[in-house]
C-alpha cells in the first residue's frame, strides 16, 4: 500500500537468476536483502551472526560495482542501538524498509529500544539477529537471550527461524509485514546452525500469513461508498469552522499531495501532530503548524474553536489531546480516517470514520466533493485563523544577552528554508525544532515521537544521510540526549558523512528541569549537569570532526551558523544557550487547551480575548 515504495524485490514475474542453487542460510539472508533493493545495511558483528557477516563480505567482493563501491555496504556503529536507529533514520528519510543485523544476546537486546521506537512511530524496519544454535536455545548459552519472547512484546512481528527451509520465505515475509498496512519493525531471529545449513534457494515465495493478508485486503479494498461520502460532506456543510488534524499516517502513506489538494479544494486549515510535520507544507497559508502539549498557541486555539475536526492518520495521542473529554470541545463532528481499525474511536468516538488508506480515501472524497459541487465559504473562519496566527505567533525574548535556542533554529532555517533533513533527540530542543523550523516536504523531520527516545538524533541523522546523500542532514541535539549515543560521532567521521551536528547546550536535562520548575517546586533532582566535565568540542575533534566549534556570543550566531552549514564534511557546533529558556506554549499534563500556558513572550487569550467565532453556516451551492 505504501505508494512511495518501489519494489525492486518484486521478482515474482520472472525466474530468479539464483533459483535452484544450493546456498547456506547466511547466503540466503544476503540474497534476500539484495533482492529487497537495499543499498546499505547497519549492524554490529558477533559470534552468532558471523556466517551472515561473512556472506555479506563475499557478496560485496563478488558484486563490486563498476566504480569500485560495494552493493551492500555494512555500516558499523558504536553499538546496536545506533545501528537500528540508523536503519530507522534511513527508513524515515526514504520511505523504504531499513535493515539492521545484530548478534545474539546483548546485540539483540540493544536493539529492543529502537524496535519499540519503530513500532510506536510506525516505521518499517527489519532486524536480523543471530541466535545461539538451535540445540543450545534455552541452556543459558553464551550470549543467549530469549529474543523472540522479548521482541514479541515490542515489534510488529517476530520470527524465530528453526527450520532452514523456511528461512527464505520468512525473510521475504518479514519485509512484506514491515512495509504493509501500518508499517512497523519485524525481527527475524536466526540460530547460527540455520545460517550454516545448505538449502535450495527458490528465488520467490512468502509465508501465507492468511489472517494478516485477509485483513489488509479488506482494508485496502473497501472503497468509500457514495453514501459515506455524502454523509461526510453533509457534516462538513453543517460546519462553519472545520479543521484538519493530520498525523504521521499522511507521511507513511505518501498522502502529502492528496492532503494538500483536499485542503486547498475546500479551504480547510491544517494542523499536524509531531509525527505529521512535513505532511503539510508549514509555510502554506492554511497551515497551523503543530498542535498539542507544545503546539503553537494558534493551532491549539483553532482546535478549541473548530466545530468540525477531521483526523487523518492521527491517533489522539495523550500529548495531543490532553484531557480527551475537553479536546475540541466545540466540535460537533469528529471525522477520522485511519488504516488501523484499532485507532478508530480509541480515544475519541468518531461521528464519521473510514478504515482505509489515506491517499486513496482523500482522493476519493475530494473527487466526490468536486463532482457534487460542494462549495463552502469559510472566509470568516480563515480570517479568524489569520488573527489567531498573528496574535498568538511563536515568540521569545529577543533582547536577552544570552543565546536563545529559538534564534539558533531560526538562523539555520533562514539558510535551509524547510528543505533540510532535521533529526533530533528528545526534550526541549526537540520541541523548539518542531516549532521553529519550516518543513516544506515529508520525510525531512525525523524525531522519536511516541517513545521519546533520547539519543535518537545522531544515529537517525547518519541513516538519513545514507538514504539522502543529496540533502543537508542536521542533527539538532541536546547536551543530554547526544550523550546517550555519543559514540556515533565517530561513525559520522568514519564514513565521512557531511552530517551537521548542533548541540543546544543548556547544561542539563532541560525539559526535566522545566517540569521540575513547574511541578516540583524547582527541586532539580538529577537534571543538572553543571558539574559534568564533558568538552563537546574536544570530543568531536577527538572523533575526527574537521569543523568543531563552540558558539557563546549572540552576535556571532549568523556568521557561525553560515560557516557551520557551509563546511563540506562532518561539522559539529555546540551552542551555549540560555539555560532558563523554556518550551512554550505548554498544555500541562491533565490540563486542557484553554489552560495552556503561553509564557512571557507569546500572547495568550487571557491577554488578548478571543474574537467572536464565525457561526453563520456558510452558503454553499451544494444540496
Amino acid at each position: 500500500m505504501n505508494a512511495q515504495l518501489d519494489t525492486p524485490g518484486d521478482i515474482s514475474s520472472k525466474i530468479h537468476p539464483r533459483a535452484g542453487q544450493a546456498l547456506t542460510g547466511a547466503d540466503v539472508v544476503v540474497q534476500v536483502l539484495a533482492d529487497e533493493g537495499l543499498d546499505v545495511l547497519f549492524g554490529y558483528s558477533g559470534g552468532a551472526i558471523l556466517p551472515v557477516y561473512d556472506a555479506i563480505f563475499r557478496h560485496n567482493l563478488e558484486n563490486l560495482r563498476a566504480d569500485g563501491s560495494e552493493p551492500l555496504p555494512l555500516i558499523v556503529p558504536a553499538n546496536e542501538q545506533g545501528a537500528c536507529f540508523m536503519a530507522a533514520g534511513y527508513a524515515r528519510a526514504s520511505g523504504k524498509v531499513g535493515a539492521a543485523l545484530v548478534t545474539s544476546g546483548p546485540g539483540a537486546t540493544n536493539a529492543v529500544t529502537p524496535v519499540r521506537d519503530c513500532t510506536a512511530d510506525s516505521i518499517p524496519l527489519v532486524v536480523i539477529s543471530g541466535q545461539v544454535p538451535t540445540a543450545s536455545i534455552g541452556t543459558d548459552a553464551f550470549q543467549e537471550a530469549p529474543i523472540s519472547t522479548i521482541m514479541g512484546a515490542c515489534a510488529k512481528h517476530v520470527f524465530l527461524v528453526t527450520d532452514a527451509s523456511a528461512l527464505e520465505a520468512t525473510l521475504r515475509t518479514a519485509f512484506y509485514i514491515a512495509r504493509s498496512g501500518r508499517p512497523g519493525p519485524v525481527v527475524v531471529d536466526i540460530p547460527k546452525d540455520v545460517q550454516n545449513t545448505v538449502v535450495t534457494f527458490e528465488g520467490a515465495g512468502e509465508l501465507p500469513v492468511p489472517g494478516y493478508r485477509a485483513r489488509l485486503r479488506a482494508i485496502e479494498q473497501t472503497p468509500l461508498s457514495d453514501a459515506r461520502c455524502a454523509e461526510f460532506f453533509a457534516a462538513l456543510k453543517a460546519s462553519s469552522r472545520p479543521l484538519i488534524y493530520a498525523g504521521g499516517g499522511i507521511i507513511t502513506d505518501g498522502a502529502r499531495d492528496a492532503l494538500r489538494d483536499f485542503a486547498h479544494s475546500f479551504g480547510l486549515p491544517v494542523t499536524t501532530t509531531l509525527m505529521g510535520i512535513g505532511g503539510y507544507d508549514t509555510t502554506d497559508p492554511l497551515a497551523l503548524h503543530m498542535l498539542g502539549m507544545h503546539g503553537t498557541a494558534y493551532a491549539n486555539y483553532a482546535v478549541d474553536d473548530c466545530d468540525f475536526i477531521f483526523a487523518l492518520g492521527a491517533r489522539f495521542d495523550d500529548r495531543v489531546v490532553g484531557v480527551p473529554d475537553k479536546f475540541a470541545p466545540l466540535a460537533r463532528t469528529i471525522a477520522q480516517i485511519d488504516i488501523d481499525p484499532a485507532e478508530i474511536g480509541k480515544v475519541k468516538q468518531a461521528d464519521w470514520f473510514h478504515t482505509g488508506t489515506l491517499r486513496t480515501s482523500l482522493e476519493r472524497l475530494r473527487a466526490w466533493g468536486i463532482a457534487h459541487g460542494f462549495q463552502a465559504n469559510y472566509s470568516a473562519w480563515h480570517e479568524h485563523i489569520g488573527q489567531l496566527k498573528s496574535r498568538h505567533r511563536l515568540d521569545y525574548d529577543r533582547q536577552s544577552a544570552l543565546i536563545q535556542p529559538y534564534a539558533v533554529i531560526e538562523a539555520i532555517n533562514r539558510i535551509t528554508r524547510g528543505h533540510a533533513i532535521i533529526s533530533t533527540g528528545v526534550g526541549q530542543h526537540q520541541m523548539w525544532s518542531a516549532q521553529y523550523f519550516d518543513f516544506c516536504e515529508p520525510r525531512r523531520w525525523l524525531t522519536s515521537g511516541s517513545m521519546g527516545t533520547m539519543g535518537f538524533g545522531l544515529p537517525a541523522a547518519i541513516g538519513a544521510q545514507f538514504a539522502r546523500p543529496d540533502l543537508v542532514v542536521i542533527d539538532v541535539d541536546g547536551d543530554a540526549s547526544i550523550r546517550m549515543n555519543l559514540g556515533e560521532l565517530e561513525t559520522v567521521t568514519t564514513y565521512n558523512l557531511p552530517v551537521k551536528v548542533v548541540v543546544l547546550n543548556n547544561v542539563g536535562d532541560g525539559m526535566v528541569r522545566q517540569w521540575q520548575k513547574l511541578f516540583f517546586k524547582g527541586r532539580f533532582s538529577a537534571s543538572d549537569k553543571s558539574l559534568h566535565k564533558k568538552d563537546f568540542v574536544k570530543a568531536a575533534e577527538a572523533d575526527g570532526f574537521g569543523w568543531a566549534q563552540r558558539l557563546d556570543d549572540p552576535a556571532a550566531i549568523e556568521s557561525t551558523i553560515a560557516q557551520f552549514l557551509a563546511f563540506e564534511g562532518p561539522a559539529f557546533l555546540e551552542v551555549m544557550i540560555d539555560p532558563d529558556a523554556g518550551v512554550y506554549p505548554m498544555v500541562g499534563p491533565g490540563a486542557c487547551y484553554a489552560q495552556m500556558v503561553t509564557g512571557d513572550f507569546i500572547a495568550s487569550r487571557d491577554e488578548v480575548p478571543a474574537a467572536p467565532l464565525p457561526t453563520v453556516a456558510s452558503p454553499t451551492g451544494m444540496f
Binding site: 523472540s148 514479541g152 512484546a153 509485514i177 500469513v209 489472517g211 485483513r215 481499525p341 484499532a342 480509541k346
Partner: protein
C-alpha cells in the same frame, strides 16, 4: 464484566504468548484459557475468559486482531454462543454413590475416586460445591472454556 473471547490462531511459536501478553501488559489476569489444534493443523482455537472494563477489553481485542498470527478473533459474550467446561476431580470414596449418579466416574478405589463432569461453568461450580458437601475433594483440574458461536 466477564468477556469470553474466541481466537483462531496460527500454530506458530510465540503466538499464544503474544496474545496473552496484550492482557498481561494491562495487568489483566486471564481467568481461563483453552487452546487446542483445530481440524486445520495450521490453526489453533483459543477460548479465553477475562474480567475487565468493557472499553479496555474491546481495545485489547482490536489490538489482538492486529497480531500477524491471529487469523480471526471475536467476542462471544455479546453473541449467541455455547460454552462448556470439563472438570476432573479426585475425592474421597464416600462421595462415590452421589458421583455415580451425577458425573462420570473414571476410577474408584477404596480411599479415593476420580470423576469427570462437563457443562456450563456455573454447572461445574455447582457440581463441585455439591460434591464437597458429600466428600472431601482432594484435587481439581478444570479445563477452561471451550466455546463457539451458536
Amino acid at each position: 464484566m466477564r468477556h469470553l473471547i474466541s481466537i483462531l490462531l496460527q500454530n506458530e511459536a510465540g503466538a499464544l504468548a503474544r496474545v496473552a501478553g496484550l492482557f498481561a501488559a494491562r495487568g489483566y489476569n486471564i481467568e481461563s484459557l483453552t487452546v487446542a489444534a483445530t481440524g486445520d493443523e495450521e490453526a489453533s482455537r483459543l477460548s479465553l475468559v477475562v474480567y475487565g472494563d468493557d472499553a479496555v477489553v474491546e481495545q485489547i481485542v482490536k489490538q489482538s486482531r492486529k497480531l500477524v498470527d491471529v487469523i480471526s478473533i471475536e467476542e462471544l459474550t455479546t453473541r449467541q454462543h455455547v460454552e462448556r467446561e470439563l472438570v476432573v476431580v479426585r475425592f474421597a470414596a464416600s462421595g462415590l454413590a452421589w458421583a455415580n449418579s451425577h458425573a462420570r466416574v473414571l476410577s474408584s478405589g477404596s480411599d479415593q475416586c476420580v470423576a469427570e463432569f462437563s457443562g456450563h461453568a456455573d454447572d461445574v461450580d455447582e457440581f463441585l460445591t455439591q460434591l464437597a458437601i458429600r466428600a472431601t475433594v482432594h484435587d481439581v483440574a478444570r479445563s477452561g472454556l471451550a466455546a463457539l458461536a451458536s
